[in-house]
């Protein structure tokens, strides 16, 4: 153990000056707090269910500049994708995560699409991945890294497309996180909470999109889809 480490900890202990008999008590309190994580005040807004919850997610995500489309089943992803790319005049070239939900979309059968699975590289124009959860409270997506789901898919390309099973829309951040606990490999190396496309206010007077991350964010809410694997 380093000299700096022991010096800093010693100074902290001297400053805190807990009496020796309460030392065990303090350690027990810390252990208790970590063993049973307690949520703070959850906004009433987040305590919605069913259709209302999906509507709130959609409204909040749209309010920060994301585009949200509701689809009945994975087979509808292909048409929605092509339509989006056409409307924004984007090249039909996609890098995607190796996820069963995206496999089910049958994108490789589409002759108009150039599609690759794996890690995006500059200048790949479009990244396609799946979210583990949506958070209605602020229209936020919860993405988690895995071998099959490179984090960069949602950050490097100029356009980010994220597929989210409608059943995985939660009210609050805490509920979405609770869904991760207990999965194998928890916590994932990288959990990204994404709320709208990349933005900056550093050059006045306007807010500009696409500062470093995606300029556009399309969320495809798919009804009859199983939740993504950890």
């Amino acid at each position: 153990m380093s000299e700096a480490r022991s010096a800093i900890l010693a100074r902290l202990r001297a400053g805190l000056a807990r009496p020796p008999r309460s030392e065990a008590e303090a350690a027990a309190e810390v252990a208790r707090r970590l063993a049973e994580p307690r949520p703070g005040p959850i906004p009433a807004r987040a305590r919605v269910a069913g259709a209302e919850r999906v509507a709130l997610f959609t409204r909040m995500a749209e309010s920060v500049g994301a585009e949200v489309r509701r689809l009945p089943e994975p087979s509808a992803i292909r048409a929605a994708l092509l339509d989006f790319l056409r409307r924004h005049n984007l090249p039909a070239k996609i890098v995607r995560a190796a996820d069963p939900l995206l496999d089910a979309a049958g994108l490789e059968a589409e002759p108009l699409l150039e599609i690759r699975t794996g890690v995006p590289e500059e200048p790949d124009p479009v990244g396609l991945t799946v979210a583990l959860a949506g958070i209605a409270e602020t229209g936020t997506l919860l993405l988690a890294s895995a071998g099959a789901r490179p984090t960069l898919l949602a950050f490097l390309p100029e356009t980010s497309i994220v597929v989210l099973p409608t059943a995985a829309v939660f009210g609050s951040y805490e509920e979405a996180w609770a869904g991760l606990r207990g999965r194998p490999g928890f916590p994932p190396r990288s959990v990204n909470l994404v709320t709208g496309p990349s933005r900056t206010g550093d050059i006045p007077p306007s807010i500009e999109l696409g500062a470093h991350g995606p300029r556009r964010l399309l969320v495809l809410l798919v009804d009859q889809a199983p939740a993504a694997e950890a």
């Binding site: 700096a4 005040p41 916590p187 190396r189 470093h212």
Partner: protein, 470 residues
């Protein structure tokens, strides 16, 4: 970085004459100040969240040694390496060593105030590394050779014209006019740097003891590219940033963006736990973390402990009449506004910065809007007392204050002195009813007349009234 805080008065006076800065600071009032008010009003639980935030931070600070040990253990279990640094020099040396071991030539950086605090860029550059800031505001400030003037918006003092000029000079090509063009140009240039860099340096908004995770918050997504593309990710942060659980982080995150910019949530909030796992083909291969003390552990045991609750949102400066008049550069060091006036004397020494805690009207707005209710006016007052004890302010101010205190503590003498002064002034100003010049009051009379007093003190009027009503 050497503080130049002793020249606050001169710099503030110059700032008041700067029309560009006036426009920029007015933008803060209409933008982030009103944004915070709207966001707080839109969330009925906002005050309850503030109380919960205070409770989390107070609990952590009372058990900081224990939480740091647990965080260290979990972070290490996840595959990261923790380095402890007592002061700025130690932290800089560790950072350089990590960059050297990584064979780094280019280092990208996502905005970190702790890195500013220890003067990391200048040190790495002096040792032959190319350091590139990626937060757009921070990048602009770096191109200009300046320091940040605001905690959240480092370049809030700049106009678009000035930024266009800087970009044209450093990037070449014809100058751009529109914000969108400028943002696109910075994106293109910085893409190359991200891909070249061998080490990416970020700060951390929170450290989570439960999971050993670090949390970063940005709107641009620059932290994710800074740590996600190079082989090595170096995190540098202060020891006070640890929170117990992910739930605790969420409580503070609900306060952070709303207090800072009025957003409901920032664009990107990322929880990182260790370097890339064996089956992953992206992410850093190595993850290092420098835990910086630099005076913080001493604050835990002293009267400034509450300052360590700070989550660096910038609300105090967005609402401070002194900051909004003087701008960030007048403060002369890394941390500005009310939070800077408390932190800077701690980190840079009171001798060279005692002017900062006096740069306050004590209106109390900073405390009113602070998401974790830091009693900033009280803490600034503590520094003032300390400065007075150490005889740092000029003798005139100290003797003046001592004379006033002598009177104020002796009510009979005080009443007599004020009675004489008011009666004298009333007599002198009887004819004109005002003074255009008065000894010791040039600060007032330089720009306006002082109305002549009525000749009777408030005390006596009050007494007379009470008698009449009795």
């Amino acid at each position: 970085m050497e503080p130049t805080s002793l020249t606050f008065r001169e710099r503030a006076a110059a700032a008041l004459e700067d029309p560009v800065l006036r426009t920029a600071l007015r933008r803060l009032e209409s933008g982030w100040q009103q944004g915070r008010a709207r966001a707080a009003a839109a969330l009925p639980e906002f005050e309850a969240l503030r109380d919960a935030g205070v409770a989390i931070k107070d609990h952590v600070l009372a058990h900081l040694d224990l939480y740091l040990e647990i965080f260290e253990r979990r972070f290490t279990e996840a595959g990261g390496v923790v380095h402890w640094a007592r002061d700025a020099a130690e932290a800089r040396a560790i950072a350089l060593e990590i960059c050297r071991k990584a064979g780094a030539k280019t280092v990208t950086k996502s905005k970190s105030m702790v890195a500013e605090e220890i003067g990391l860029n200048a040190f790495l550059e002096a040792n032959g590394l190319r350091v590139v800031e990626t937060d757009l505001g921070e990048y602009i400030v770096q191109l200009a050779g300046e320091v940040p003037s605001h905690l959240v918006g480092p370049a809030v003092h700049m106009t678009r014209e000035r930024i266009a000029e800087l970009f044209a000079r450093h990037h070449g090509g014809p100058p751009k006019q529109e914000s969108a063009e400028l943002v696109a140009e910075a994106r293109r240039i910085l893409r190359e740097r991200y891909l070249e860099a061998e080490v990416g340096i970020t700060g951390a908004n929170f450290l989570v003891a439960e999971t050993g995770s670090i949390v970063t918050v940005t709107n641009e997504g620059n932290a994710e590219l800074t740590q996600g593309l190079p082989r090595v990710h170096l995190v540098i942060t202060g020891i006070e940033k640890v929170v117990p659980t992910v739930e605790d982080a969420f409580t503070l995150l609900r306060l952070l963006a709303r207090s800072a910019t009025g957003q409901e949530f920032s664009g990107y909030t990322t929880f990182l736990t260790g370097p890339a796992r064996p089956d992953e083909r992206d992410g850093p291969r190595k993850m290092h973390l420098i835990l910086l003390d630099n005076g913080r552990s001493a604050m835990v045991g002293g009267p400034f402990r509450e300052m360590l609750r700070c989550i660096r949102c910038g609300a105090c400066m967005n609402h401070c009449p002194v900051y909004l008049a003087a701008g960030g550069h007048a403060y002369g060091w890394v941390y500005v506004g009310p939070m800077g006036s408390v932190l800077t004397p701690q980190f840079a020494g009171l001798e060279r910065t005692w002017t900062l805690p006096t740069a306050s009207t004590f209106c109390g707005r900073c405390q009113e809007v602070c998401p974790v209710r830091i009693p900033l006016p009280k803490l600034m007052r503590l520094w003032r007392e300390e400065a007075h004890r150490r005889h740092l302010p000029p003798p005139v101010a100290r003797y003046g204050l001592a004379a006033w205190a002598f009177l104020a503590r002796r009510p009979a003498l005080y009443r007599l002195a004020t009675r004489l002064a008011i009666a004298g002034l009333g007599l002198l100003g009887r004819r004109r009813g005002r003074f255009s010049r008065l000894p010791l009051a040039a600060g007032w009379t330089a720009s306006r007349d002082l109305p002549a007093p009525a000749g009777v003190t408030f005390h006596r009027l009050w007494k007379a009234r009470r008698r009449n009503h009795a």
